[in-house]
């Protein structure tokens, strides 16, 4: 569930778990999230030995392989600092599934349970731990927000992205139909059932575009990879030379809009 407001107890140090998707495919989003946190006066620690939370194997039916990868991550965050993750999906894996993954390993289970208590999804951390409110410097713009299923149903933090955007004076958040519906990514689901996944992402893109928003934001890069990958493919099919619906991680949007002389 969403972290209850503990603003005021600002930690001086946090760990940042970037996720493999951000490290390799959306490094800018990770950098922007870290910059934003540092601007709030927090020391951000990025253990370079981090790799992946193990979720791809776990959800695909290979828990042993997931466990091997997860066991490595467990060793990387020894201090009692919050672990901030710019993805509801990977945060949910560490918070909810690590303790179960190590159910039969007392020592690691204890570690996993202790870690679970200090895992935060990025937007939840901003809103409910830091009490962050973006001082919007940008021009008027309309965005549409896609919240990942894990952020919504596993972490229960779907309101925090919304809250961040609602507090920005130049930003209007458009509402898409079937807002809470999955974008069709689902990790290896998109490869194992590509036709169904394709139908889902096509519908999702249509709903997002129908709002007339200028860009789509999400706090999960897995969804963005899927939605933006399909949007770019569709633009190419339609002969569009520029993106009809650009998108980015909410951290990048927040950072840009709060800089002096910010553009959209």
């Amino acid at each position: 569930m969403q972290t209850q407001g503990v603003a005021g107890k600002r930690p001086a140090d946090i760990y940042f778990f970037a996720t493999c998707v951000v490290d390799q495919f959306f490094p800018g989003a990770g950098l922007d999230a870290i910059t934003l946190l540092e601007r709030e006066g927090i020391r951000v620690h990025f253990p370079v030995a981090q790799t992946c939370c193990g979720q791809p194997a776990y959800t695909s039916g290979f828990p042993d392989q997931a466990r091997a990868v997860a066991a490595h991550q467990l060793t990387l965050f020894p201090e009692n600092w919050p672990l901030v993750v710019p993805s509801g999906s990977c945060a949910g894996m560490i918070k909810h599934h690590y303790p179960r993954l190590f159910a039969d390993d007392p020592q690691r289970r204890a570690q996993a349970e202790a870690l679970s208590l200090r895992v935060y999804e990025f937007t939840d951390f901003l809103v409910n731990v830091l009490g962050y409110a973006a001082q919007d410097q940008g021009a008027e713009c309309t965005v549409v927000l896609h919240t990942s299923c894990s952020a919504r149903r596993e972490m229960g933090v779907h309101l925090s992205s919304r809250q961040l955007l609602d507090g920005m004076k130049g930003v209007t958040v458009a509402m898409q139909d079937h807002e809470s519906e999955c974008c069709g990514f689902g990790g290896t689901f998109s490869l194992k059932q590509p036709e169904i996944s394709a139908a889902m992402v096509a519908d999702k893109l249509e709903s997002l575009k129908a709002t007339g928003a200028e860009r789509v934001l999400s706090a999960d890069c897995g969804c963005l990879m899927n939605i933006l990958g399909h949007a770019a493919w569709k633009d190419a099919q339609d002969g569009q030379t520029s993106a009809t619906l650009p998108g980015e991680h909410i951290a990048s949007f927040l950072l840009r809009r709060t800089e002096q002389g910010a553009a959209k």
Binding site: Q24, G61, C182, G186, F189
Partner: protein
């Protein structure tokens, strides 16, 4: 009835059927519209989140409590039913269940059976068994009647004919029912069904029904319905046969009101169904109607397999409301028939492996993005996504000499195991991850432009030229 009725084939061909379904715009529209309607109706019933959450918890507790003492409750149920004059039969397999039912039919020289809605009768393919024995089995639920006329099977457990438009049904009635002129007026179509089926209720030898809850302490069979065909099936013919899974028993009558409320509100967004029919016996001396004989067939068919495992046992909490399919983005896009199983949608994916084995159903467990919508709406809190992950891992696990699950290891392949082994070796080692991810970034120009199914509707995934760790190093 049509001789060439639809045959279900789970597993094999699932992807082809799913592809055909997503490429059928009319089907997509039908399901999307119907599911949106049901979602909105349910949502209106649960406008108080606290009430919903506490009631779901109560529903979960009731089901888990009753499953926790299932053997004892089944004995109590059998004793009470027998005391009430209801005959109890046990079937481990569909064949046994069919044999019991046909045996009762033969003892009464039955020619015609009218059926109230029963998914368990679909599960055992009772209609085929009846046809082979020369007994006409007539579906009387309007949706079931329509799919039977069309030689099809239900595409939804609550709304069997949801895949059909009224125009299709209009043509079907015109073609298949004697003396019916074409009309696509829904009221008129329903009245046609009513007229045809009333004559069947009048002369039927056997009435067959399912059971929603079987109450152990009173020996009572409870049936939920809106049409009245369930009441007619269980009242008008001289013999009533009910069939249900062994998991449907509850100990106390007091357990019924909350489950009934969860069921109707979750299923169709009704605060209660039109009828709730509680049967505690055959016709007694002095009574003027009701069947002279009532039978209950209790079916296992793989349920004991789910029961044997603590996690998988939660599957049996299901009260068959269908909310999981109504909210499922996969079901909404492919409809019920594509699954090839009696129970489609999320609940079907976790029940069918026990009924049919993982050999036939492992593919179905992959047909989920694990979005969690099913678990979120389940009125008895079945952790459906967790069960799907568990079944996936069972399908890929090494085959056991004494498998706990039928078809354990059925999806195991050297290739898949090898891929995930290599993946784990890279990602559990910071050095190997460092090298491989650096290579992928440094040489991202070599990223293939065709990436299997991904690039069928998406641009290729291309690693950024610099990883986050590289950017951080530069920044420092």
């Amino acid at each position: 009835m049509s001789e060439h009725t639809m045959q279900f084939m789970p597993g094999a061909g699932f992807r082809a059927r799913a592809r055909a379904a997503v490429d059928n715009p009319a089907l997509r529209r039908s399901f999307r519209a119907a599911m949106d309607f049901l979602i909105a109706k349910r949502s209106a019933q649960f406008d108080d989140p606290l009430e919903l959450e506490t009631l779901r918890t109560l529903g979960e507790q009731i089901r888990q409590y009753n499953l926790g003492k299932l053997p004892e409750l089944l004995e109590q149920l059998e004793a009470r039913l027998t005391g009430n004059g209801i005959q109890v039969h046990w079937a481990e397999t569909p064949d046994e269940a069919n044999a019991i039912i046909l045996g009762i039919c033969k003892a009464h020289s039955a020619k015609l059976m009218v059926k109230g809605k029963s998914m368990v009768s679909e599960e055992i393919e009772l209609n085929h068994a009846c046809a082979a024995a020369g007994i006409e089995a007539m579906e009387s639920d309007m949706g079931e009647y329509i799919v039977q006329l069309a030689g099809e099977k239900p595409s939804h457990i609550i709304m069997p004919a949801i895949h059909k438009t009224k125009e299709e049904i209009a043509h079907l009635f015109h073609d298949k029912v004697d003396g019916v002129a074409y009309t696509d007026n829904v009221d008129e179509l329903i009245q046609i069904g009513r007229r045809v089926l009333r004559e069947k209720f009048l002369v039927a030898d056997i009435g067959l029904s399912g059971v929603n809850f079987a109450v152990a302490e009173t020996g009572t069979l409870c049936l939920v319905e809106n049409e009245g065909n369930g009441r007619l099936s269980t009242t008008a013919p001289p013999v009533h046969i009910a069939i249900t899974g062994i998991e449907k028993v509850v100990e106390k009558l007091a357990h019924v009101p909350p489950l009934l409320s969860l069921l109707t509100r979750s299923a169709t967004g009704q605060n209660i169904s039109t009828y709730f029919n509680m049967i505690s016996g055959a016709r007694r001396p002095g009574e003027k109607d009701g069947p002279h004989e009532v039978h209950l067939v209790l079916l296992d068919n793989g349920r004991t397999q789910a029961y044997a495992d603590e996690q998988l046992r939660t599957t049996l909490q299901c009260i068959r409301c269908g909310a999981c399919m109504n909210h499922c983005p996969v079901y909404t896009r492919i409809g019920g028939h594509a699954y090839g199983t009696t129970y489609p949608g999320p609940i079907g994916k976790i029940v069918s492996p026990h009924l049919l084995g993982l050999e036939a159903t492992a593919t179905l467990t992959t047909a989920s993005s694990l979005c969690g919508a099913c678990g979120e709406v389940c009125p008895v809190k079945i952790p459906i996504p967790d069960l799907l992950m568990r079944l996936r891992s069972e399908a890929f696990s090494a085959p056991h000499d004494d498998p706990r699950l039928r078809g354990q290891g059925a999806a195991r392949s050297r290739l898949m195991s090898g891929v995930w082994q290599i993946w784990a070796r890279i990602y559990r080692s910071p050095t190997l991850y460092g090298i491989t991810s650096w290579l992928a970034s440094r040489f991202n120009c070599l990223t293939p432009s065709r990436q299997g199914p991904w690039t069928a509707v998406r641009t290729p995934l291309k690693p950024a030229p610099k990883r986050l760790r590289d950017l951080l190093k530069e920044k420092a």
